[in-house]
């Protein structure tokens, strides 16, 4: 199973370099680590660093064209959109994993 996360333009994945630390970014960075230990392949793409990935992934490019950067972060589980506009909580991730049969 594979989760691709398309992040908004930011300089790091925990957001500590923003004007204020975004708690949901910090939490999500930790959640990604947790997912990795569960055997889920997680790949994050940062809009300001890997824009090519956004342009070359059809669903992401289309969503960006239709709704602009507000649709980010965008999460694709095996190519299917599972979250958009904000990061899911640990609970929501657990629920998602359960549906997919991950313990």
């Amino acid at each position: 199973m594979r989760l691709d996360v398309f992040d908004p333009a930011m300089c790091c994945s925990s957001g500590v370099c923003g004007a204020d630390v975004d708690a949901s970014l910090v939490q999500f960075a930790a959640d990604v680590k947790w997912l990795l230990t569960r055997g889920v392949a997680v790949q994050r793409y940062n809009l300001s660093q890997q824009p090519g990935a956004f342009a070359s992934t059809g669903i992401v490019r289309q969503t960006l064209q239709a709704d602009g950067v507000e649709c980010l972060p965008l999460g694709l589980l095996d190519g299917r959109v599972v979250f958009r506009g904000q990061y899911p909580s640990r609970q929501e991730l657990q629920h998602l994993m359960k549906l997919e049969g991950v313990s």
Binding site: C12, V16, V21, A29, A30, L47
Partner: protein, 594 residues
């Protein structure tokens, strides 16, 4: 001839703060080696490079021969051009595919100071590791950027090398690096050549002044920490009074001697040599060739050919305008060593003496505001933004609040990211924005840190402004962010301090350009430590005063509509009386004004 030229290493780096004469010394060294039949490449990485001006020829971002000096070639690395090229490499391929606002957001993220630093270092690394280049030149001489900038350039590869190893996921504040990660082998090579004492010499350039020597000492210590131990010291602009009855000349000579006598043990252990102060600015290959020749005999034969134009007014007039409002923010900006602390303290003391409530605050780690004041002053409060302390408190607060709910892994990751260089910027920004708001009720004088740091602050303020605008639920017309305060000319007045010398004026002009790009218009320029505005009869000082005239004229004609000039003082002004005298001091009479 400098002993530096006896048995030089392949790479020579000249470092020191703006205005100490790095470009002149690096260029004179390059010419001396080329004149011996060596093939020499002279590299400028200074964003305010005046190499073309000094050599009187075209200098570009590709290697070009200098027609007047066989064997010598130059290259100018403009960090901003390098950053633009880097930005285009990332954004170019997706410009047609992604919507405009998305592309705009990417470009904004890649416009920060980090990107510029990283892109510049990337260029720099190419020069250090390019095999073709290594074979084409016997010597490569770097006229490096001012000290703070140099240090960041040199520190980054060490930080990156270990960073990339420890964080294979690449999730980090050193974000822009991910686009350059493929070159880590070259970075490691670059660091190795810098540390090799048989291949690389660091030439610390200083003036015989306490603050410049203190900065050279800091640079030396920091470079040693990075493993760059092959260092030499060159004291440039050593002044000898020609008119022994002239009080200013003899005081300046005495001050230089005192400063050199108080040199740190670290600096005094380095091989050291002296270059005398010249009457005129060192421009052109003839002047450069004579720089290392016999001691200056070019001075006493001097005639005042300057026009009888009036100098700008004293600081008092500016203070009158500022005092009228009764509150507001006064930002004193400029490169390290131009006298920001003194100007900020003088302005604050004068405003307090007029019955206003004044807060004087500093973010300059090197500043000693309390020293300049010499004691308590009625109506004046002094505070300091200590970047280290602010960072420590900020990290503590973030870990206690945002890190509270995290598991051990999450907390570890957060701590890791908080060790990034951005953290200090953010922490200082928080302190800065607290002070910005205090100026609603009283006068706040902020003696800011040197230019690079200052711009980082503004950069952070700008990012904050955009973040607030993007995420807030308060109606847009009711938000007042620090950036809006800084842009409001009724609220914030920016004083740009410079010295009447080529590089400091260039640097100040550059600072003004950066501020304007951020939508901020400086209120006035202050030309500090002017010999033209001082009383002297010493022939060398008179020659220097004449050399100041075209620069002062240029500031008046091209750079600012509101200028104050502060004469060079025989003694550093300490204490309220001397500081106020600085503000009120009338211009010297007849010789220059009539």
């Amino acid at each position: 001839m400098l002993r530096l030229l006896d048995d030089p290493t392949r790479y020579l780096f000249f470092t020191g703060k703006g205005g100490v004469g790095k470009t002149s010394l690096a260029t004179a060294t390059a010419i001396a080696l080329a004149d011996r039949g060596q093939r020499v490449l002279l590299v400028s990485t200074d964003p305010a490079s005046n190499l073309g001006q000094v050599l009187e020829c075209d200098v570009a971002n590709t290697i070009m021969a200098v027609p007047a000096v066989p064997g010598l070639s130059t290259i100018d690395i403009d960090p901003e051009a390098a950053a633009r090229a880097y930005r285009e490499r990332v954004v170019g391929p997706v410009r047609a595919t992604l919507p405009d606002d998305v592309v705009g957001q990417i470009e904004e993220q890649l416009s920060g100071a980090c990107t510029t630093e990283i892109a510049a270092f990337d260029e720099f690394t190419k020069l250090l590791t390019d095999q073709d280049l290594i074979h084409a030149f016997d010597y490569v001489i770097f006229d490096t950027a001012p000290t703070g900038h140099t240090l960041r350039l040199l520190q980054l590869p060490a930080a990156w090398s270990s960073f990339i190893e420890e964080n294979p996921g690449g999730a980090s504040c050193l974000g822009p690096l991910s686009g350059l990660e493929a070159q880590r082998v070259q970075y490691a090579d670059a660091v190795r050549s810098l540390r090799d004492p048989a291949g690389t010499t660091l030439v610390l350039v200083s003036r015989p002044e306490r603050s410049a020597l203190a900065e050279a000492d800091r640079t030396s210590a920091e470079l040693s920490t990075l493993g760059l131990d092959n260092q030499r010291l060159v004291i440039n602009g050593v002044f000898e009074a020609h008119d022994l009855k002239d009080p200013l000349a003899s005081a300046l000579e005495r001050r230089a001697r005192t400063a050199l006598a108080g040199i740190s043990s670290r600096l005094s252990a380095l091989p050291r040599e002296f270059v005398p102060l010249r009457a005129a600015n060192v421009v052109g290959t003839a002047a450069l060739r004579s720089l290392f020749a016999a001691p200056a005999t070019d001075t006493p034969d001097f005639a005042d050919t300057t026009p009888d134009t009036a100098l700008p007014p004293s600081l008092g007039q500016l203070v009158d305008e500022i005092a009228g409002e009764g509150h507001g923010l006064l930002l004193v900006m400029g490169k390290g060593g131009v006298g920001k602390t003194t100007i900020a303290a003088a302005g604050a003391v004068e405003l307090a003496a007029r019955g206003l409530s004044v807060l004087l605050s500093t973010t300059d780690p090197a500043a000693h505001v309390a020293d300049a004041l010499g004691g308590d002053v009625h109506g004046l409060t002094v505070s300091r933004i200590d970047p280290r302390e602010e960072t420590r408190r900020y990290v503590e607060r973030v870990l206690a609040t945002k890190g509270k709910e995290l598991d051990e892994d999450g907390r570890h990751l957060l701590e890791e990211d908080l060790r990034s260089p951005c953290t200090e910027e953010v922490a200082v920004f928080h302190a800065f924005s607290r002070i910005v708001n205090q100026a609603r009720r009283s006068v706040v004088v902020l003696d800011t840190a040197p230019t690079g740091h200052t711009l980082l602050l503004l950069d952070a303020t700008g990012a904050y402004h955009r973040d607030v605008m993007r995420t807030t639920t308060v109606p847009a017309d009711r938000i007042v962010t620090p950036m809006m305060r800084l842009r409001d000319p009724e609220y914030t007045r920016i004083l740009i301090v410079t010295l009447p010398e080529t590089t400091p004026v260039l640097e100040a002009a550059r600072l003004q350009k950066d501020l304007r790009r951020a939508g901020i218009e400086p209120f006035a320029w202050i030309i500090n430590q002017s010999i033209a505005a001082a009383d002297t009869s010493d022939p060398l000082l008179l020659a220097r005063a004449a050399a100041e005239r075209p620069l002062i004229q240029r500031v008046q004609d091209e750079l600012s509509g509101r200028i104050a000039i502060v004469p060079l003082q025989a003694e550093p002004p300490i204490g309220p009386q001397h500081l106020r005298a600085l503000v009120a001091r009338p211009m010297p009479k007849a010789r220059f004004d009539g």
